[in-house]
C-alpha cells in the first residue's frame, strides 16, 4: 500500500467515525424536537395537503397515519398523558389524513379508540365518523361506532339505536350486530355493549401492540361487568347495597375480586355501577399493571 | 476558368427578373418544376423553386436556370461550371443561411450565396477552416437544416426528401451513434430503413470486415475509441451501397492506418462510379481523392479547382519549403480572403 492510499484510508476512517459518532446524538436532538410537535404536516391546511399529494394521496395518507401512530405509541410507551394541546394536534392530523384519503379506515379507528376513550373528544370523533360514513358507504362500522358512542358515552338510547339500525342495513354487517338491540335490552347496560365493541375491534386488529392495548381495556370492562352483575345479584338477594367490593366476596357472590388491569380501586356507585379510580387510563406516575 | 466543351452554366433568377425579362419566361420553368414540393402539389407554380435546363442555340452547351420565387433574394449570372455529360446529382444555387441567437437575435451568417454542382461519378471535396460553413452546407443538403434562401437539389429533388435519402450515405461530423447499442444493431436498423433486399447478416459481416471491426460486432459503441466510432459510422453510411456518399470530416480522429483504410474505401467507391461529396480540413487526403476541390471561407465559396490545375499553381515564395500547392492556395485564401495568386500560370489564363 502506498502513501497516498494510506492517507485516503486514514481520512476515510476518520470521517466515517466522525459521522457515525454523531448519529445517536442527532437522533436524540431530533427526538426532543419532534416531541414538541407531532408533525410538520399539521400546519398545512387540509385542502393544500390534498392537492399537494398529487397522485400519491394513498401513500401520503399512509405516511401521516404512521406518524400519528408513532406519536401515540411513544406516549403510550412512556406512560405519558397527552396535553390538551397534543390531543388537538392529533385531532388535526387525523382530519388531515382523512381529507387526503377520506375512505382510509385506520385514522377513524384511532379517533374512536383514542380521542373518545382517552381524551373525551367525542364531538370531534363523531364528526370524523360521519365523514367516514359518507366515504365508506359499504361499511357498517362508522355507524356502529357512532351508535356505540351514543349508547355508551351519551346514554342516548334513541340516537344510538338509529345509528345501529343504519349500520345493520349495510351488507357487511355481521349477524351478531343485527340482534344487538335486543341483546342490549337483555343486558340492560352499557358495559356489555362496550365488551362487545371491544371484542369486535380486537377481532379486526392485526397489530400486536394495539391488540394488547385494547385487550387490557376489554379485561377491565369484563371485570366491571362481573362486578356489576354481582352487585345486582347482591341487591336482589339481600335487598341492600354492598358497602364495597369486598362485601361481594364475603357474602359469597364472588370467589375473588377481579383486579383492575390499570391498577385502580373499584368503587360501587349509588346507581349500582362500578367506578374505578384509574378511570381506565394509564396514569403517568402509576406503574402499569402487567398484562400479557 | 477552365472552359472545356460540354460545360454547363447555372443562372439564378428571381421572380422579379423573370417578370422584367420576359424572354426567359419559358414554359420549361413549369415542366422542370420540383415535383415533390408541397406548393407544387397545391398548384402554385410561381411560388416554387425550379431548375431548368436550356440548350444554347449557338453552341452545344446547356444552361441551368434556377428559378426562385423570392424577389431580390439572389444575384444573377453564371456561377459555376459542371461536366454536362451527366446531370448534376447535387446542386447548390445561391444558398444563404444565417443563424440567429436565441436571446440577442444577433445574426451570424453561415453561408452566403453558395453555388456549385456535383455531377454523377464525381469526387468533390470542400475544404476550409473551421467555421467556414462546410458542415452547414452538408446539413442543408441532408435536409436537417433549412436554407434561408437559394435552392438545393439532390437527385433532382429538394433536400430532406425520403426518396432522396435512399440514395445517400451520410457520415456526420463527429459521428454520434447510440452509445448503448452495438454496431450490429445500427446496421440492422439500416437494413430495416433503406429497403435493403437480400440477406442482412452476410452484408453486415462484409461491411465490418471492410472497416476492420469484425471483432467488435457485439461491443456497445460507448466502448469504442473515436477512430473505431468513425469507422463504424462509415460502415453504417455504406450499408445500402448508396450512389451518393456525403461525408463530413471522414478522416478526423483516425490514426494513419485508419485514415488509409477510409481513403481506400472512398477511392473504391469512387472507382465503382459513386458520387462523393465530402468536406475535410486534412488537405492531403482531399488531394488524394478528389476530382474537384472547393475552397470555402467565412461562408463563401472562394474557388473551385482541380488537382490538375494545382500542379501548375505558383507557390508564394514566403511560404516554408515543402508546402503543397493546395496548402499554399488554401493558406492564401484563408489569410487574405481570396487567392493572392491566380491559380493558373499567366500564359494559360483566358
Amino acid at each position: 500500500m502506498n502513501k497516498s492510499t494510506l492517507l485516503t484510508l486514514a481520512v476515510f476512517i476518520l470521517a466515517t467515525t466522525a459521522y457515525a459518532l454523531t448519529i445517536p446524538g442527532l437522533s436524540q436532538v431530533r427526538q426532543e424536537r419532534r416531541a414538541e410537535q407531532i408533525s410538520y404536516f399539521v400546519e398545512v391546511p387540509p385542502q393544500l395537503a390534498k392537492v399537494g399529494s398529487l397522485e400519491f394521496k394513498g401513500i401520503v395518507a399512509d405516511y401521516l397515519m404512521l406518524e400519528a401512530m408513532t406519536f401515540m405509541g411513544e406516549r403510550i410507551g412512556q406512560n405519558r398523558d397527552l396535553s390538551a394541546e397534543e390531543w388537538q394536534h392529533l385531532h388535526r392530523l387525523l382530519v388531515k389524513i382523512t381529507s387526503i384519503d377520506p375512505a382510509f379506515w385506520d385514522p377513524y379507528v384511532l379517533a374512536e379508540t383514542m380521542l373518545v376513550w382517552q381524551a373525551g373528544m367525542m364531538d370531534e370523533a363523531n364528526e370524523l365518523l360521519l365523514n367516514a360514513a359518507r366515504h365508506r358507504p359499504w361499511d357498517y362500522r362508522p355507524f356502529y361506532f357512532l351508535g356505540f358512542n351514543s349508547f355508551y358515552f351519551k346514554k342516548d338510547v334513541v340516537g344510538g339505536a338509529k345509528y345501529l339500525r343504519q349500520a345493520a342495513r349495510k351488507a357487511n354487517c355481521p349477524d351478531y350486530l343485527k340482534s344487538l338491540a335486543a341483546r342490549l335490552s337483555l343486558y340492560g347496560n352499557e358495559t356489555a355493549l362496550g365488551i362487545l365493541f371491544l371484542e369486535d375491534l380486537i377481532r379486526e386488529t392485526s397489530q400486536e401492540e394495539s391488540r394488547a392495548y385494547l385487550a387490557k381495556r376489554l379485561e377491565a370492562l369484563r371485570a366491571i361487568h362481573i362486578l356489576e352483575k354481582a352487585v345486582a345479584e347482591y341487591g336482589k338477594t339481600l335487598q341492600k347495597k354492598p358497602a364495597g367490593v369486598t362485601d361481594l366476596v364475603k357474602q359469597g357472590f364472588l370467589e375473588e375480586i377481579p383486579p383492575d388491569p390499570y391498577g385502580g380501586d373499584w368503587v360501587i356507585m349509588d346507581n349500582g355501577r362500578i367506578y374505578t379510580t384509574s378511570e381506565l387510563v394509564e396514569k403517568k406516575h402509576r406503574r402499569p399493571a402487567q398484562k400479557k | 476558368m477552365n472552359m472545356e466543351s460540354g460545360v454547363d452554366m447555372v443562372a439564378i433568377i428571381s421572380r422579379r427578373h423573370l417578370l422584367t425579362k420576359p424572354r426567359l419566361l419559358t414554359f420549361l420553368v413549369m415542366i422542370q418544376m420540383l415535383p415533390q414540393h408541397p406548393l407544387a402539389i397545391l398548384g402554385l407554380p410561381w411560388a416554387v423553386p425550379a431548375v431548368m435546363l436550356v440548350p444554347d442555340p449557338f453552341n452545344d452547351q446547356q444552361h441551368i436556370y434556377v428559378f426562385h420565387p423570392l424577389p431580390d433574394s439572389l444575384g444573377e449570372g453564371v456561377f459555376f461550371e459542371a461536366d454536362m455529360n451527366s446531370q448534376p446529382v447535387i446542386s447548390f444555387a445561391g444558398v444563404g443561411k444565417a443563424f440567429q441567437h436565441d436571446l440577442t437575435r444577433k445574426k451570424a451568417v453561415a453561408l452566403h450565396n453558395l453555388t456549385f454542382a456535383v455531377s454523377a461519378g464525381e469526387a468533390f471535396g470542400i475544404i476550409g477552416p473551421n467555421g467556414a460553413g462546410k458542415s452547414t452546407a452538408l446539413k442543408i443538403l441532408m435536409g436537417f437544416s433549412r436554407a434561408d434562401r437559394g435552392v438545393v437539389t439532390v437527385g433532382g429533388q429538394g433536400p430532406g426528401h425520403a426518396l432522396g435519402h435512399q440514395m445517400i450515405g451520410y457520415l456526420p461530423e463527429n459521428p454520434c451513434l447510440y452509445e448503448n447499442l452495438t454496431i450490429t444493431d445500427h446496421l440492422r436498423f439500416a437494413a430495416r430503413t433503406t429497403g435493403f433486399s437480400g440477406p442482412v447478416a452476410p452484408r453486415i459481416k462484409e461491411l465490418l470486415a471492410l472497416v476492420g471491426l469484425s471483432g467488435e460486432a457485439r461491443l456497445p459503441i460507448r466502448r469504442f475509441s473515436k477512430g473505431m466510432t468513425q469507422r463504424a459510422a462509415l460502415a453504417y453510411a455504406l450499408f445500402h451501397d448508396p450512389d451518393l456518399l456525403v461525408l463530413d470530416e471522414p478522416m478526423s480522429g483516425l490514426d494513419p492506418l485508419g485514415r488509409q483504410m477510409v481513403v481506400d474505401i472512398i477511392r473504391q467507391c469512387h472507382a465503382r462510379g459513386k458520387t462523393i461529396l465530402f468536406c475535410s480540413h486534412i488537405l492531403t487526403d482531399v488531394e488524394r481523392i478528389c476530382d474537384r476541390i472547393a475552397i470555402m471561407n467565412r461562408g463563401e465559396l472562394q474557388s473551385i479547382t482541380t488537382p490538375k490545375e494545382l500542379n501548375n499553381y505558383v507557390i508564394a515564395p514566403e511560404l516554408p519549403p515543402g508546402t503543397t500547392p493546395l496548402e499554399a492556395c488554401f493558406l492564401e485564401i484563408v489569410r487574405d480572403g481570396k487567392p493572392a495568386h491566380r491559380p493558373y500560370p499567366a500564359g494559360e489564363a483566358a
Binding site: S206, S210 | N174, L177, T193
Partner: protein, 270 residues
Amino acid sequence: MKKTLAVAIISFQEGLRQRVLYGILIFALFMMSAAVLLSGLFMRDIAKITIDFCLAAISIGGLLVPFFLAVNQLARDIERRTIFTLLCRAISRRQYILGKFSGLALLTVTIVAILSLSAALAIWTSNVIYGDYFFQNLNIQALAVAVGMSLLGVLMFTAVVVLWSCITTSSFLVTLLAIATYLIGHTTEDLVRFMASPPPGVEISPMVQHSVTAALYIFPNLAAFDLKLAAAHGLMISGGEILFLLTYGIGYTVAALCLAIFFFQRRDLT
C-alpha cells in the same frame, strides 16, 4: 409504417440497454418488500396500504419514462446529434416522432407490466401473511382498471414531453417543462373545483378563473387518470367514466403528437 417500427425498435433497444429494466426490477423488489412489511405496521386497512404502495410504485415506474427516458431519447438525441444517425436514413421527421413515441410507449408498457406482476406477488404475499380478513375489499378488476388508466395517463404525459422536446432546444428546459406540466396536470382540476364553490369571503377574479379554465383545456388532466385511491378501497369506476377517460386520453395523446410533428418538421437541426 415499417420505418416507424424500425425507429421504435431501435429506441426500445437503446432504452433497454441503458439498464433501465435492471433498475426497475430492483425497485420492484424493494417496493414489494416495503409494501408487505409496512402494511403490517397498520391496524386494519392492510390491503389498502399494500395496494397503495404497489400502485404508487407502478406510477413512479411509469413516470420514469416521460421524466427521464423521453428527455434522454428526444431532447438529448437532438442535443448530441445522434438524431442524424436516424434521420440520414430514409426516415421522415413524422416517422421519427411517431417511432420514438412508440418506442417509449413500448418501454412504458414493459415497465408497468413488470411492476404489475411484482405488485400482484406483493398483494398475494401480504394476503397470505395477514389473512383473508383484511383483504375482503380486494377488487382485482378495479386494480386492473387503475393500472390501465395510470398507463394511459403516463402515455399522454409522454406525448406532451415529446412535444416539449420538439419545441425547446435544451434537455434541461424539457425536464423543467415536464415537471411543470406534471404539477399543473395534477392540480388544475382541484383548482377548478375549488373555484366552482369558493369558501365564503373569498373573491376570485374572472381573470384567474379564465386562466385556470384555459389551463384545464391546454394541459393534460393527469389527475383524472389517478384511480389509485378508489382501487385501493376496492371501488370500481363506472363504464361511462372509463369511456370518457379513454377518449380524452387517446385524443389528447394524438393531438400532442400531431403538434409535435408540426413543430419538428419546421425545426432546424444543427
